[in-house]
């Protein structure tokens, strides 16, 4: 479903992603696990046509995002790291807007919206503007929206950031349910190990723009000779905290962006 070969992305002197390759099978739940600044969001942006790769190739359902952006966009749904709802519209209106943007046929649109709102436990709140929603409700609505146009792939970029354990737990149950019911491939990024461990069938550990290990949980433990994902992760990526370095790079990028304008 997703095929990536030698993908790289450079911002000025800083190479955020340094030539990664992987494949995700149809219907699989695949996780990118890595510390802050590892290149997870940059990779998602390239996979979802928001950013052009510096080199390498991408195929989503056999199509290249740089030559067929609209066909590719129709095939994926995405939940961004930061919120992307219109807070002045109701839950229902947010979904209707999405359906219109994706050119969904009128017939069946209402039914699918109702089905998803019920499944994500938001049906009762459908006519409230989303500015009244809690963080967990907003996230659930965004995920329901991501599934709305029956995509083949759903990208989730750190979807549980800032949610309490109950909301996180419930959210993953919903995602798994739709993954099983509709066979949607799920590509997620996270830096919570327990999530990768619980939800994903295969995990790619990324660090400094490279995939340092890839496999099922059992394979990762075996490769590193450890007995938990956390131990494997720390063995692969070291125990240094890179927040500092990573956020400096981010600051530089922001600065460069501002400067160029």
């Amino acid at each position: 479903m997703i095929e990536v070969v030698d993908l790289a992305c450079r911002f000025g002197d800083f190479e955020a992603v340094k030539g990664i390759s992987f494949r995700v099978a149809p219907g699989e739940i695949f996780a990118f696990l890595g510390p802050n600044g590892a290149g997870k969001t940059t990779t998602i942006k390239m996979l979802t046509t928001l950013l052009r790769p510096t080199r390498g190739s991408i195929r989503i359902d056999g199509l290249d995002p740089s030559t067929h952006p609209h066909e590719v966009r129709r095939r994926f749904g995405i939940v961004f790291q930061d919120p992307s709802l219109d807070i002045f519209l109701t839950a229902m209106e947010n979904l209707e807007l999405h359906a219109a943007l994706y050119g969904m046929p009128r017939a069946g649109r209402r039914e699918r919206i109702e089905m998803l709102l019920r499944q994500f436990e938001l049906w009762e709140k459908r006519d409230q503007t989303t500015q009244t929603f809690s963080g967990g409700m907003k996230r659930r609505l965004e995920i329901a929206r991501g599934f709305l146009h029956t995509p083949k792939v759903l990208f989730l970029d750190e979807p549980t950031l800032g949610l309490d354990p109950q909301s996180r737990h419930q959210l993953w149950n919903h995602v798994r349910a739709v993954n099983q019911a509709e066979g949607v491939t799920v590509f997620l990024t996270t830096h919570y190990m327990d999530e990768a461990e619980r939800v994903a069938q295969r995990i790619a550990v990324v660090d400094h723009g490279r995939i340092v290990a890839l496999g099922t949980l059992a394979e990762l433990k075996e490769q590193t000779g450890t007995d938990s994902l956390e131990a494997a992760f720390l063995k692969l990526t070291g125990t240094t905290v890179r927040d500092e370095a990573a956020s400096n790079a981010e600051n530089m990028r922001q600065f460069m962006k501002a400067w160029r304008r």
């Binding site: 979802t48 952006p69 066909e71 966009r73 943007l101």
Partner: protein
């Protein structure tokens, strides 16, 4: 087509739901209308130019459309900061359609605010040449709305922070407004002012609205339309280009 319509509808919903925006958009023009209309009225009368309220009302209506249209660009910065912009940029819709939907939505809102102020002008005592003059003024108001919404979009695409936008737009809007003939007749202006006002696209908008409403043309309906359409095409092109270059 669907995408343009739904984004246009979204602008209207935002407008209807934001009472503060409606009230504040009326306040400033009404101050101009009442303070200047009645304050300068006697002087204007003595100069033999007739009623100043009649003269300035079309200028104030134009001002409302201008301000509201330019400020529609701030919606773009808002959507970028609050993330909704991403939702439209990953949708299988050409960016041009997104930009057109947003611009038409902003222009419709600006037009509605202009109409609201027109109604208030009527209540205060403004009388158009005839009732048919009101529909005749609409195309000019719509053109002004599109021209300056497109400019607002171009600015909103380039500026990333909410604080910079009002500063930059005020810096542009105030000269546009004061050098447009909205507040004074263009006849008999000193040399430099004549050229500056003639180079200001808003001048043609004011002239169109005033000509249509009270029959006092300076340039005429055809030159006004021609200039507004030409500048509109230029600004829509500029807005579309700036919008297509947005990187998240």
């Amino acid at each position: 087509m669907n995408a343009i319509y739904i984004l246009w509808l979204r602008s209207l919903k935002h407008f209807v739901r934001s009472k503060a925006q409606i009230v504040s958009s009326i306040g400033q023009p009404m101050l101009y209308l009442l303070a200047l209309g009645f304050g300068l009225g006697p002087v204007f009368q003595r100069a033999g130019e007739g009623s100043y309220l009649q003269f300035v009302a079309p200028g104030v209506i134009t001002m409302t459309v201008l301000f509201s249209a330019m400020f529609s660009g701030i919606g773009l910065i808002w959507d970028r900061q609050f993330g909704f912009l991403k939702e439209t940029l990953v949708a299988p819709v050409p960016r041009l359609a997104v930009m057109i939907g947003r611009t038409l939505g902003g222009a419709t809102v600006a037009l509605l605010q202009g109409l609201l102020v027109l109604v208030l002008c009527l209540l205060v005592g403004f009388r158009p040449a005839s009732w048919a003059a009101i529909p005749a003024a609409l195309p000019f108001m719509a053109l002004i709305a599109i021209v300056f919404c497109a400019l607002g979009t171009a600015l909103g695409s380039r500026l990333e922070n909410m604080q910079a936008f009002p500063m930059v737009t005020s810096f542009l809007m105030m000269p546009l407004f004061f050098l447009s003939g909205a507040l004074y007749p263009l006849e008999g202006l000193p040399g430099a002012m004549r050229y500056v006002t003639a180079a200001n696209p808003l001048t043609y908008g004011v002239d169109g609205v005033r000509g249509a409403l009270i029959g006092a043309w300076h340039f005429g309906a055809f030159p006004d339309t021609l200039v507004l359409v030409a500048v509109g095409a230029l600004f829509v092109g500029l807005g579309a280009w700036s919008f297509s270059r947005i990187q998240l």
